[in-house]
């Protein structure tokens, strides 16, 4: 009973981590750097949804969609304004993304303040599953994550733009010679990634509370998940996210809750020791 409960909690937290990890991986493959600013973009997503629900009285579902679109646009803008003009140096891009993350955080604190906020009480119907009751919030998070990830993989593997994204990720030069508009593909990738991050933010806000560091705190488990999945493999990132979410929930049963993020780090460091290439290493990366 207890175990099933922890498993479901882990699944919902792991789903959110997986969304962020997929976004990080996607941008890592196309733009060749780990974008730290996604952590605080996730926070922005959550706060935007809050403003829409409280300020405009929007229900939860339109708010999550609109918030995803807005974070998507912020993501694309950040790519065009900050990252694209910098060229290809991984280090420069990485450090700039840290700078951008700090600017985002300052903006969040300026607009919404430092207090812990929460969404207006949304009641989701809880689901009876045999002897246990799954709280409605968990159901919403798990189902939304599943739908979003499924939609994303459909896009990646069943559409023309998805094929172009995968081709560009494998070899941008070769993709260009086959007539793929790499610049356009890159923008689509940033849009998708930032939208995934925004959705993750709203879900995180719905399952816990909103505070300016929520995204930063989720960023490191998401990095751990991306590394676990082989830093560059989107399927691996999804599996890595779920694994870390579930492991963190089970660890809380034995260790003080404060050490929960430590579990993600421990898994990551073990992985680096035993199998540095990750669970599903991407084939083209030496």
């Amino acid at each position: 009973m207890f175990i099933l409960r922890a498993f479901l909690d882990g699944l919902s937290e792991g789903g959110i981590i997986a969304l962020a990890a997929i976004a990080i991986t996607l941008v890592f493959r196309i733009s060749r750097f780990a974008n730290v600013a996604f952590g605080d973009l996730l926070t922005i997503g959550a706060y935007l949804a809050l403003s829409m629900m409280v300020g405009w009285g929007l229900p939860f579902w339109p708010a999550i969609l609109l918030s995803a679109v807005m974070t998507g646009l912020i993501g694309v803008t950040s790519y065009l304004v900050v990252f694209k003009p910098l060229g290809l140096s991984t280090v420069t891009l990485f450090i700039s993304s840290i700078g951008l993350a700090l600017v985002f955080r300052a903006g969040i604190q300026l607009i919404w303040g430092n207090d812990i906020l929460s969404f207006p009480a949304i009641s989701f119907r809880s689901v009876e599953l045999g002897p246990i009751t799954i709280p409605g919030g968990d159901v919403v998070v798990i189902v939304t994550c599943a739908i979003v990830v499924a939609a994303f993989f459909l896009l990646l593997y069943q559409t023309r733009i998805g094929r172009e994204i995968r081709a560009t990720a494998n070899d941008p030069d070769l993709a260009r010679t086959t007539g793929i508009n790499v610049g356009q593909v890159t923008i689509v990738v940033w849009l998708c990634a930032a939208m995934l991050v925004g959705i993750a933010g709203v879900l995180l806000g719905a399952s816990t509370a909103l505070q300016p560091e929520m995204g930063w705190n989720l960023l490191l488990p998401a990095f751990a998940a991306a590394i676990l999945g082989g830093l560059g493999n989107t399927t691996g990132a999804a599996i890595g996210g779920l694994t870390i979410g579930i492991a963190m929930q089970f660890a809380v049963m034995f260790a003080p809750a404060g050490y929960k993020p430590g579990v993600a780090f421990a898994i990551m460091i073990l992985m680096l020791l035993i199998r540095p290439a990750g669970l599903l290493p991407s084939k083209d990366r030496q």
Binding site: S96, G99, L100, L102, A106, Q109, L110, W216, G258
Partner: protein, 321 residues
């Protein structure tokens, strides 16, 4: 006013020591360290815990440096065989782990930290001890600069830069890359550990919130502002920290601004300076100058430009000897 300047420069010089360690990692060895604050925190806590339990201050300082070195050795063992992105992420995580332990353990004082850390000279000099502390920091920074420039001009330093610029080449001439990188990590961490110990003594109380990831990025801004040479990094960090720290005193001077606004403004400044500098002047204000003799440099420049002209290399603008 004097005490204000003493305080401003003491804190800034502590960050200069900290930044010099990071510059050895990044500027000379090309190691992407985004969790330098971990070594700072380890130095601060080790030294504070020892001196609070009756050990002499010097012993605490030494132990702080040793613990930071040990942590760096472990990180080196874990990451030097992997690609550079991994060190970045492992260091970022290490910094968070150190902070998690500090927040959640009882022996570190938990979230309320460690108060009443003893500082040197206080017993003998009383109120004027702050001036002596500043003098000690100046001497420490000068010694660090001298030792570092000796170190990086030695064969060790040349090997480090060779590895930074071309790992395959350095391996081909028989350099043990893992060992060189680990040594660089350890030496830089010692500087951060010493800086941390000084910091604890200076502010006299430490809490986990003082060791947030932002502290690492202060040093990054300093290096990017100043350039990757020792002197450049030191000057960059000094200027940037002095400017940043002076915001602390704004409210004392009658400017109507709350502490939260100051903290928020600092975030914004660090972020914007990073983004703008990398765009406008990525090599820094005082960039690293190669130390080859003039004739050799001229010779290299001549053959390089000849070859580039001959090969029609598309990146010829970016190459300078």
């Amino acid at each position: 006013m004097t005490s204000y300047f003493i305080s401003l420069f003491s804190i800034s010089l502590i960050y200069v020591l900290f930044g010099l360690g990071l510059n050895l990692h990044w500027g000379y060895a090309g190691l992407l360290n985004f969790g330098h604050v971990a070594f700072f925190a380890i130095g601060a806590y080790t030294s504070a815990l020892l001196s609070l339990n009756g050990a002499p201050i010097a012993v605490g300082l030494f132990a702080g440096a040793c613990m930071a070195a040990f942590a760096a050795y472990l990180v080196g063992f874990l990451t030097t065989r992997l690609k550079e992105d991994y060190l970045a992420i492992v260091m970022l995580t290490l910094a968070e782990i150190v902070r998690l332990v500090a927040v959640n353990s009882s022996w570190t004082g938990g979230p309320s930290g460690l108060p009443n850390i003893p500082a040197p000279f206080v017993d003998a000099l009383g109120r004027t001890s702050r001036g002596m502390f500043l003098l000690m920091l100046v001497i420490a920074v000068v010694i660090a600069l001298l030792l570092l420039s000796r170190l990086t001009r030695s064969e060790f330093g040349l090997a480090l830069r060779a590895i930074r610029d071309d790992e395959v080449c350095a391996t081909a001439v028989g350099k043990n890359i893992r060992s060189f990188k680990t040594k660089a990590l350890v030496i830089g961490a010692i500087l951060a550990g010493v800086a941390g110990a000084f910091y604890g003594m200076y502010v006299s109380y430490i809490v986990p919130d003082q060791f947030v990831p932002l502290v690492t990025f202060y040093a990054w801004v300093g290096i990017i502002l100043g350039g990757r040479s020792h002197l450049g990094a030191a000057l960059g960090t000094l200027v940037f920290m002095a400017l940043l720290e002076s915001t602390r005193f704004l409210s004392d001077m009658g400017v109507p601004i709350t502490d939260a606004q100051v903290a928020n403004g600092r975030l914004l400044i660090v972020g914007l300076v990073l983004i703008v500098l990398l765009r406008v002047r990525p090599q820094g204000l005082f960039p690293y100058k190669p130390t080859l003799p003039k004739q050799v440099r001229a010779e290299v420049q001549r053959t390089m430009s000849e070859r580039i002209a001959a090969s029609n290399h598309p990146y010829h603008e970016k190459i300078d000897a």
